[in-house]
């Protein structure tokens, strides 16, 4: 049963305060979207929630304990994180990379057993990359590499997953497939996800809850349906937004007039 909570969490980058006194509880069964403009501190927040960065005030609690006090291996069994990008300096195959996600489940003297191999193969298959298992990472496309990283996270099999822009580099079909795959995990007992996303509409479709980092340093959090509107998104992104409603769904887009030159050439104008 994973449970993550912040108590009066404060984050600084240099002198600048990114976040002040944030108290929020992330509960099992929920998919959280973290939304904010570039440089608003989404990644810093995610790293802090993962226990990889010290807080500048307040605390992050994992299953009720300050996350810095949780043993590293236990933490890695409970909480997994997908980074925005990971370097691939040295050659490794896709399968080897995914298999490294099993690390927290292995004792110091253990090597991967058949079950670990099975988990890694299943994770690759889940992101539709079973056929590239033996290929080197460097030979894969950007989108395929991203899916290998997600497969590594799946192989880690932590009930609590933090994902930093998981759909980077992915085409629309794979964006949907990947978010469906990841967010469905929250239905398992004790599982939950936190996703940093830039696409408000994907967040609305796949996430139950949202945490918005507003441009003025304040935050808004709660059920996405309750907190999302044009006003709060404009305060978040600093640009005009427009809401479009269908019978069952809401969509949000930047309310920018088309660029003049394109307008002149557009067949719609004729």
């Amino acid at each position: 049963m994973a449970h993550l909570e912040t108590r009066k969490l404060t984050l600084h980058i240099g002198e600048r305060a990114l976040l002040r006194d944030l108290s929020v509880a992330f509960e099992a069964g929920q998919n959280w979207a973290i939304l904010g403009a570039n440089g608003s501190g989404k990644t810093t927040l995610l790293h802090t929630l993962a226990g990889l960065r010290r807080t500048d005030g307040g605390a992050v609690l994992l299953d009720g304990q300050p996350i810095q006090n949780v043993a590293r291996r236990v933490r890695a069994q409970t909480l997994g994180i997908l980074f925005q990008d990971s370097p691939n300096t040295f050659p490794a195959t896709a399968f080897e990379t995914v298999l490294s996600g099993r690390h927290p489940h292995l004792g110091f003297w253990q090597t991967e057993a058949a079950t670990d191999h099975a988990v890694a193969h299943a994770a690759l298959a889940a992101v539709e990359l079973a056929d590239v298992a033996a290929r080197r990472i460097a030979t894969l496309s950007g989108g395929e590499r991203r899916r290998v990283e997600v497969a590594t996270l799946l192989a880690q099999d932590a009930p609590l997953c933090l994902l930093d822009e998981p759909v980077n580099h992915l085409d629309p079909r794979h964006q949907i497939a990947l978010l469906r795959l990841v967010c469905a995990r929250a239905q398992r007992a004790g599982h939950l996800n936190l996703l940093v996303l830039h696409d408000v509409n994907l967040a609305l479709r796949f996430c139950s809850h949202g945490l918005l980092l507003l441009a003025d340093g304040s935050t808004s959090h709660g059920r996405l349906d309750d907190i999302l509107d044009v006003a709060v998104l404009e305060k978040t992104y600093g640009c005009a937004m427009r809401e479009i409603r269908s019978a069952t769904e809401r969509f949000f887009f930047p309310d920018e007039p088309p660029i003049e030159s394109r307008l002149a050439q557009s067949p719609l104008r004729q």
């Binding site: 993962a50 994180i81 691939n88 050659p91 490294s100 690390h103 090597t111």
Partner: protein, 326 residues
């Protein structure tokens, strides 16, 4: 998978072959039958003296130095996450060279030269570590830059000493700089350090795989990265210091052996580390044997041979890998 198991057997085969070559070749070439009798103890006289007192200790120290350099190369490449890292990049050999040359300049005996080389490398190691640590965040770039600058400073000091030194000691100084396995009378020491280093790193090899993928990735999967960082740095430095003390700066082995093995499929550190020791050791045994036999009685610097042997093989593999990837 079978391909890689095959590679391991080839590497295991290389070791006795390289030793047989090293023991048989020289001013007096021994045939297999004589060699066998010497090793079984039934042959005494000149062949026994040649093999047991001269060639075997030299081959053993060549193997240990090659293994030490290759192992240190693997570790430093993972630590710095830089494929161009080699055991000398952080100034260890520079510090050793400055101290050894100073000892030679003062007319010290070989024991003193080795001792001061080891001391010099330790000073360089602590200097680079201290300077790169300072205040603010530790990054591999900062460590790398500090090491490269300290190495450059040592290089300048070496040039200065060479320019100021009398003609008489110049030859021995140059030979030390180019790497020499000739005057080695305690090969057991290198082998002991090599074995200890390998035994110490093997249990951490899986963690090293994560570390090579990035500190954050390793930390997220439950690794104590501070411990890994310092452990790798000091261990790799000590391995390098030992190698430099035993044989001067022999280039190429530490840089290329790890890459060669990665190109051949040893990407997992659990395979890479022992494979690198086997290949680096055998490579240096063969190179050293060639260095003392090709234009005998003149001895060539062994570093020249390691480069001449390794560069074409490496370039060939690199070209093949590039084609395979494309």
């Amino acid at each position: 998978m079978n391909h890689r198991v095959g590679l391991r057997w080839v590497l295991f085969g290389l070791v006795p072959l390289s030793f047989a070559f090293a023991l048989a070749a020289g001013s007096v070439t021994l045939d297999a039958a004589t060699l066998w009798r010497v090793l079984r103890g039934t042959e005494t006289g000149l062949p026994a003296i040649l093999v047991l007192d001269l060639r075997l200790p030299r081959a053993v120290s060549a193997f240990s130095v090659g293994g030490l350099l290759a192992l240190a190369g693997c570790l430093l490449q993972a630590l710095l996450r830089n494929p161009l890292a080699d055991p000398y990049i952080l100034g260890i050999s520079g510090g050793a060279a400055v101290a050894a040359l100073a000892a030679l300049l003062l007319g010290a005996g070989s024991g003193w030269v080795s001792g001061s080389a080891f001391l010099g490398s330790l000073v360089a190691m602590l200097l680079v570590f201290g300077l790169s640590h300072g205040r603010g965040a530790w990054t591999e770039t900062r460590l790398l830059l500090t090491g490269v600058v300290v190495a450059a400073g040592c290089g300048a000091l070496v040039s200065l000493m060479l320019a100021l030194s009398p003609q008489a000691s110049l030859a021995s100084m140059l030979f030390w700089l180019l790497g020499d396995l000739g005057q080695n009378n305690s090969p057991g020491w290198g082998l002991a350090v090599l074995s200890a280093g390998l035994l110490l790193t093997i249990p951490f090899a899986r963690t090293l795989n994560l570390y090579a993928r990035g500190e954050q990735v390793a930390a997220a999967l439950g690794t104590n990265i501070a411990l890994m960082r310092y452990g790798i740095y000091f261990l790799a430095s000590l391995l390098t210091a030992t190698a430099v003390t035993l044989a001067g700066s022999i280039g190429f082995v530490g840089l290329v052996v790890p890459h060669l093995l990665r190109l051949l499929g040893s990407t997992d550190h659990r395979r890479l580390l022992p494979d690198a020791v086997l290949l680096g050791g055998s490579l240096l045994v063969v190179a050293d044997t060639l260095a003392r036999t090709v234009v005998a009685p003149t001895q060539l610097p062994v570093g020249v041979l390691t480069a001449l042997l390794g560069v074409p093989v490496f370039l060939l593999l690199l070209a093949r890998a590039a084609r395979g990837a494309g």
